[in-house]
């Protein structure tokens, strides 16, 4: 028990060091952060006017969510960034660390590989969360989105499970980068597929039956649906139990699997002598 507490403590301190490091690097590129903020604004306004253009035509398909197109799509695009960022997060970071030579410097320390890989992506998750908040705040204060029904606990649980399951897919993707240096088929395929089939821009009920079946195998479908219900309709944890269980299963299976695959990839790279090649 004491050992477990110590390892959690050690992980937290080291993860904090990774977050601080990435924050300092990010802060040294302040203009990029400001430009990204304007990018978010442009995206929101684009969909605001698309929603205006569509008018009430989409409402028929959105009855389940009890809302119009703009609130529906705003949550979709805000969380799409979350999903795509989480998906590409680790593979991109591993590639950068390989190219800058810092991966070797980290791997020669007594820190566990699992701690290194899990900590590497944390800053991006925090950063994207801030942008999601910006999306929602702009929607609420300037574009008339009503989130007064939001259920905080349900939203938080879904958010955590979403981050865990998507980050796990990204760690699997980083394993490909570790071995093949390029060619990251997992995040490419899943990224495009998730956006198309996961109900980011439209409800999956408008898809043909075959595609709807496929979408039920994707974690994004459950994450987005549950998130919309929790944010727009105020569904409680109990009301979202089935979606939460599905996300929990995805997380429980994918996280250990991804760490196992990443450890295997590191071992393979050490065996091939290509750990620091890029």
């Amino acid at each position: 028990m004491i050992r477990f507490v110590k390892s959690i403590q050690s992980f937290t301190i080291k993860a904090g060091a990774f977050i601080k490091r990435d924050f300092l690097i990010e802060a040294s590129y302040s203009l990029a952060f400001i430009l990204e903020f304007f990018g978010v604004l442009a995206t929101i306004l684009t969909f605001y006017f698309i929603a205006k253009f569509i008018g009430k035509g989409a409402n028929l398909y959105l009855q389940d969510y009890g809302t119009e197109y703009f609130p529906f799509v705003l949550i979709g695009i805000a969380f799409k960034d979350y999903f795509t960022s989480a998906l590409e997060n680790y593979s991109k970071i591993i590639r950068i660390e390989q190219m800058t030579g810092t991966l070797e410097a980290m791997f020669v320390t007594p820190t566990k590989i699992s701690t290194i890989i899990l900590s590497m992506g944390l800053w991006n998750i925090i950063r994207t969360s801030v942008f999601i908040l910006v999306y929602l705040l702009i929607g609420i204060f300037f574009l008339g989105i009503d989130l007064t029904n939001m259920n905080f606990w349900a939203t938080s649980i879904i958010l955590i499970l979403t981050v865990v399951s998507f980050s796990s897919v990204s760690i699997i993707s980083a394993s490909f980068v570790m071995v093949f240096k390029r060619g990251d088929p997992i995040s490419f395929a899943t990224g495009k597929l998730f956006v198309f089939l996961g109900g980011v821009f439209f409800p999956i009920t408008i898809l043909p039956q075959g595609l709807q079946t496929i979408s039920h195998f994707l974690p994004i479908t459950y994450a987005l649906r549950a998130m919309r219900y929790a944010l727009l309709q105020g569904y409680s944890v109990k009301m979202l139990t089935s979606d939460i269980i599905v996300l929990l299963i995805f997380s429980l299976v994918l996280l250990p699997l991804s760490i196992f695959i990443f450890n295997y990839a590191v071992k393979k790279a050490k065996n091939d002598g290509t750990l620091t090649y890029y």
Partner: protein, 263 residues
């Protein structure tokens, strides 16, 4: 006797990856393996300053990377600080510091202090310990007043000193140095060599294994040295032993090197 480093038939064979574009080579061409390190048997005592010299491609860096657990051996094994590189990876990593001449390996947008603080944390130091250790080491390496500049603004000499500081953060008993004076001007080079020999080895009792292409440097620094060529240790011992091994009076280290590396 427990050695700081002990290798037994340590071997590394690399198998080149297949060319996916050339179908003939992909399916029909046999891949010839490259023997980078060939049955190396070494014993290095605690507190020794051990030089590893050899021509380019001799396998020196591969050997050090195997001892640092960054490359897995194909055959054989090694113990570093008494721990197996195959079974006690974490303990080996706690016992070593790897210092390369590579300017990569740091975050160029961060200051020297920020870089060192990050690495100190993942070496397991608390914030207070890290602060104290960075101060102590930066005084030894004479870079205390340079730490708050961004890494990208440093000269090669300062970057090299930072690399040494980083390698020492975990206070390891064993240091691997891959060409620690490469690209340095003579003054910086002399200063770094003094720090290695006087402060790290003689005062602190650390074991240092350093790679160098400069025979004069190997001559000046090492207690013992090994000449490596095509993956094999050709000869190993003190400079006198190496010179005597030729059986010719008044030989230089260059003569010894040429004798063992030129066919």
């Amino acid at each position: 006797m427990i050695y700081a480093i002990e290798t037994v038939n340590l071997t590394k064979e690399f198998i080149p990856s297949k060319n996916l574009i050339n179908l003939h080579s992909l399916f029909f061409q046999k891949r010839n393996s490259i023997l980078a390190v060939d049955n190396v048997n070494l014993q290095i005592g605690s507190g020794e300053l051990f030089g590893l010299v050899g021509p380019n491609g001799a396998g020196k860096t591969t050997l050090i990377k195997m001892l640092s657990c960054l490359i897995l051996p194909t055959r054989g094994t090694a113990k570093v600080a008494g721990y197996s590189i195959l079974e006690d990876e974490e303990k080996v990593e706690s016992s070593i510091g790897l210092i390369t001449s590579n300017e990569r390996g740091f975050y160029w947008r961060l200051t020297g202090r920020q870089n060192l603080h990050f690495f100190a944390t993942i070496y397991g130091l608390s914030p207070m310990q890290a602060k104290k250790k960075i101060k102590e080491l930066s005084i030894i390496l004479e870079i205390e007043d340079q730490l708050d500049k961004r890494f990208q603004e440093y000269s090669t000499g300062i970057k090299q000193r930072l690399s040494i500081v980083r390698g020492l953060l975990g206070d390891p008993p064993i240091l691997f140095m891959d060409e620690p004076t490469m690209s340095l001007d003579p003054i910086s080079s002399r200063s770094i060599k003094m720090i290695i020999k006087k402060k790290l080895v003689r005062e602190q009792g650390k074991t240092v294994i350093f790679i160098t292409q400069l025979l004069s440097e190997a001559d000046e620094l090492s207690d013992r040295l090994a000449i490596m060529d095509r993956g094999r240790i050709k000869v190993c011992g003190s400079l006198d032993v190496l010179k005597n091994s030729l059986g010719i009076p008044e030989v230089t280290i260059e003569d010894v090197f040429n004798y063992y590396t030129i066919d």
